[in-house]
């Protein structure tokens, strides 16, 4: 009996989580332009940062 309840719970929780993720993904995609969502660039590291690196990552900063 407990196993059957656990099985039903597993299906319900899986369905809810899946639906939540899908709805949220669609919502985010509608609310934000694609150019914004895909703007990420490879990371930098504060231990590796250098003026040259900053210039490479923010080329417009100097001219602004």
């Amino acid at each position: 009996m407990i196993v059957h309840v656990a099985e039903y719970l597993a299906w319900i929780i899986s369905g809810l989580l899946g639906a939540w993720m899908l709805i949220d993904a669609v919502k985010v995609s509608r609310e934000h332009p694609e150019e914004f969502l895909t703007t990420s660039v490879e990371g930098t590291d504060e231990l590796l940062a250098s003026p040259a690196a900053e210039q490479m990552l923010n080329p417009t900063e100097e001219t602004a």
């Binding site: 597993a10 299906w11 993904a25 895909t38 990420s40 490879e42 250098s50």
Partner: protein, 489 residues
Amino acid sequence: MTGVMPGSPRPEEVRTHADPQGSRGHLALKKVLGPAHIWGLGVGIVLVGEYMGWNFSVQKGGMFGALIAAWVVGILYTCVAMIDSEVTSTVAAAGGQYTQAKHMIGPLMAFNVGLFLFLEYTMLAAADANVMSYLVSTIATHLGYTGSVNQYAFIILAIMVLAFLNYRGVLATLSINLVITAIAAIAIVVLFLATQGWSPDAQLHFTGLASSHANALPYGWLGVLAAFQFGMWYYLGIEGTCQAAEECRSAARSIPLGTMTGIITLLIAAVLTWYVCAGTLPWQYLGVSITPLFDTALVNAGGAVATLLAVGTVFATLASANGCINDASRAWFSMGRDNYLPAWFGAIHPRYRTPFRAILFLVPVAIAFAILPVLLNKPELLATVITFSILSALLMYSFMVPNMFRFRKLWPVGVLHRGYTHPLHPLPAITLGVIAALVLFATFLGYGTTLVTLVIFYLLASVWFVLFRYKYVRRGQQFTMPWPRPRGY
């Protein structure tokens, strides 16, 4: 008052909501991880191999064959950890070895390495979810349930819950991984103490092992070679630490620390696991056992220790699936970001700062491979799914050898700041190449058809990439690391 009020958002969260593009003017993954998270990610993916799987090397090569496999394959993974620690300490980017290939070799190699990574971790996550449903069945049987448990329900639940965690944020995901991995690792040490492992004559019995060649090396040195394939289970996945580089507060510090302490943990755990199991169970049984550590605890310790090992088995399986979903999604996301795949996959969630579309994409893939053995009523397909993962990993290790030589040639020590510089170059790279070739040969002996199938798949994928995808790759824009010009260019 300088402190943060209880319940109020932390400065970083305020920055996230107020300025989701971050201070650099672009959406970025969240930099919140430290060395402990990296340890939890790497060891978490692997430790399930100590709880189940490694013991099939006993079936192939006997007790000593399994021990030799643990040592030799341990050397392979120590080389992997050293090389990855050095290269990734300079590449603070998601994608790990894929990003290394992109910078060091070229687009076609990078595409293949990205696929190796995605398949390695997705297949492993699928296998973990399948095992999780088996563990639920076993627990139900131990509690007196006589019917059959619906495996589909628990396979899908495991993948959905872990995907949801990954979707909502990397800090919580890997913090949970750290805790459950630590508990699973401590459980192995507790078993060693409970069996009085420091005194080999107390509860453990090695007399038969030492005196009988038939017990120790039943199939001779060919058996030892065959055992290498399953020796991979002791360590498979530690290289997954690299995938989190972009989310570390400092990749140069966290990746080497987390990876090297991770491989040290695994080397100790592998030897402890072999030691307590070999001293408790006869090799004929150990070679086919599904849960060798739990069985050892039942036979030699019982009670609370057996319960702890049962919990450790479940936690290790969950941690592995969790880490694999994290890593597979980062590899897929990175390829999308560079246009190696549709750019749609390279999106980041503006609130949770996770690669949400890549996470969602791998859910049906993982579920499909996890339920396949159940759907076709062929449990042996699970071994094929895991072999896909192992072979993809081996192909990637083969790439790491020329990659390391090229990295040191293009950016010698001193030219590029490294968080960690591994010693004795080129010895680790050469050793890695030789042992990886040996293990590939051993795997070919056992799963030749699977290996050939996989190689054909990667060849066809490469043809697709060259003909239909390469034109979208923006070669200039994908190199964003702040590195000096490579030597000779």
